[in-house]
Symmetry: C2
């Protein structure tokens, strides 16, 4: 049977027509190798941000169903143009929306989860020898409503489609794989040849933007590999699979825009309120007297409005600390009791004030003020990765 590959191209790989035409050439090169190609595309460049800005001109908290209607147009523009570019080069291509691709989601607008993939039309067209282009980031709920999957959702579209099609999955972007840290922050960062699902998921959940955490989770459950590659360069990239990085610590991730809440002795109520607001929690703890919650607000549709509602509900009891950053070291051998101490030492040496520290078998996370985050990332990379 002919091999099928799903290739996903991110927004900066299709930011303008010339870049999109280079993607068309790359897709055709793959098809010429005799492989069936299903392409998943993001919106061009900053299109999604531009559309959100338009919505925010009208409302601080745009209704999520309508926001999904609006945002879903971005990927549709890319997919139609890419199909045109491929046809122009003499190859048959056809584009499908999330709904036409059989991406069925739950009805949680603006942050929907894929619950089923029925790629019947895609399979038919691949069998006819056509290149299929799919709008990433979107699906259709069982209520027949257009939904979007949240930031980075196109990765999940690609992985879920690859799993359903029995295909391999390439995530193509501006970087040529998964690095031990963001090279724009840590110049010593280097590419990993392989990384395990668990390592990648920890990195993605704690700020690494190269792959989406939900997508990695889907790949793990389906047992398919993800290849993170560069769109416009050769190279093997990074393979995400069962095989790990082979390192004790595989990477440092940085996240900003975090908020920490404290509420005396009402953790159940606080948890319920945050669940209602569909807040993507990093952590919810209760030390017996005070409940503490930590989460990122970058992708919340209306943090300002939601934060007002929380203060109205809980009054002066609620303490809100905004604008925090987290630097996390991820690795399979971080269980040792000495390591958090070492992280605290590194922070101390930099003069960085530690707001909190949290450890798990796979991770040490240091919560700091954003101005301290880049320096701490470099220090922790030097101590745990470069030295490891």
């Amino acid at each position: 049977m002919t091999e099928t590959v799903v290739q996903k191209y991110g927004g900066s790989s299709v930011a303008d027509v010339p870049k999109l035409e280079r993607v068309a050439d790359r897709v055709i090169a793959t098809a010429k190798q005799g492989r069936r190609v299903c392409v998943v595309v993001s919106a061009m460049g900053r299109t999604t941000d531009d559309l959100i800005r338009l919505a925010k001109q009208i409302s601080d908290s745009p209704p999520r169903r309508e926001l999904d209607m609006l945002l879903s147009t971005g990927e549709r523009i890319t997919m139609a143009l890419l199909a045109m570019a491929i046809q122009k080069r003499g190859f048959e291509a056809i584009s499908f929306t999330g709904s036409q691709s059989g991406i069925i989601t739950n009805d949680r607008h603006s942050g929907a989860h894929i619950i089923e993939v029925r790629p019947i039309r895609i399979q038919d067209e691949l069998e006819r020898g056509r290149i299929v282009i799919v709008a990433g980031f979107q699906g259709m709920s069982y209520r027949r409503e257009i939904t979007t999957l949240g930031r980075g959702g196109s990765d999940t579209t690609a992985v879920a489609l690859a799993a359903a099609l029995g295909a391999s999955c390439e995530i193509c972007s501006d970087v040529d794989g998964v690095y031990t840290a963001d090279p724009r922050i840590v110049s010593e960062a280097h590419r990993l040849d392989s990384i395990s699902y668990e390592e990648m998921q920890e990195l993605a959940e704690h700020g690494a933007k190269v792959l989406n955490a939900q997508a990695v989770e889907w790949a793990r459950r389906s047992g398919i590999h993800i290849y993170a590659r560069a769109t416009h360069a050769e190279g093997v990239g990074t393979r995400v699979g069962n095989e790990g990085s082979g390192r004790e610590a595989c990477g440092v991730a940085t996240a900003t825009g975090l908020v920490r809440l404290h509420l005396k002795g009402r953790s159940v109520e606080l948890g319920a309120a945050l669940a209602e607001g569909e807040v993507p929690l990093w952590q919810l703890t209760d030390d017996g007297t005070t409940a503490t919650a930590l989460f990122g607000v970058e992708n919340l549709p209306d943090w300002a409005g939601f934060s007002r509602a929380l203060r109205d509900r809980f009054g002066a009891e609620l303490e809100v600390v905004e604008n925090l950053a987290a630097v996390s070291v991820v690795g399979t051998a971080l269980g040792s009791a000495q390591l958090p101490a070492q992280a605290i030492q590194e922070a101390g040496r930099l003069g960085a004030k530690i707001v909190a520290i949290d450890t798990s078998p796979l991770r040490i996370t240091v919560l700091v003020h954003p101005s301290d985050a880049p320096g701490l990332a470099r220090a922790l990379h030097a101590a745990f990765i470069a030295a490891g």
Copy 2:
């Protein structure tokens, strides 16, 4: 039963967020009168042209299916933003794509015709007291493909929906009704209180842009009235129905971008070739020796490519005259043999060279070079309308 109204807003009425917010206020004002409101919107401002320009960067003749995918996003952006603006003002609103609205078309991409309207979801939401916003200009073919209806197609969406919902239909734009000529060309032009379907259809088919000819035809067949009104001004506008303008000549329409073909004695072959190219013919005649075809190329996806194909097929026998204009006088009493002669006299007085003249019981059309068209429009308006 509560009265339902379909209001259509054109691209310049929703060109930016402030204009869109004024439309939201107008829609809410209608809802406050106790009427159910279904709103049909066009793409914002020049969005459709911008998207076409993007496609043309990739291909001179973009595949029509993919062009429809691309262009259908324009109205979806408007509808989502308008639904947000209405909700922001405390009223319930929901937007629907052409497909969700039950607009079923044939599969002639980029110029599809509505064959059926099944507005089940719209009816449900109107009954719940919600304002419904529909993406104009688009539908879904029975093959479940996204189609577009061609230029001015949002008018047809509005009329077809109004007919299906048993609603009245308002077409709202920058002008406050149907004028006896384009006021930008003929300053003496004045608004008509009423005009018959037949008069309006002749005007629309021969260059008047205020209403779409297919929409008027649909209204005539369904027996519903169209009210052409100003979006941002009071006034009764113009009613299109069985009752005519009450004038012998009701208007002057100007069209540009026309092409005339001559082919010796092969009218069947020429007709077939033009039908294949889905050319919207004004006229196809055969005087026994030579076939003559007249049509507008403004809305043809790829006239340059199609024209090359015609020359290849028919060789030197085919004569192509491009860039012509037509000035038409429309009226119920134009059957008199003296009137074409009077039109010829007016052209002669201006020194305008007549390329051809064509008459029907409802119309006299004078084919000229574009530079002569505005002057001839003014002269014919003065002779037939102002004097009538």
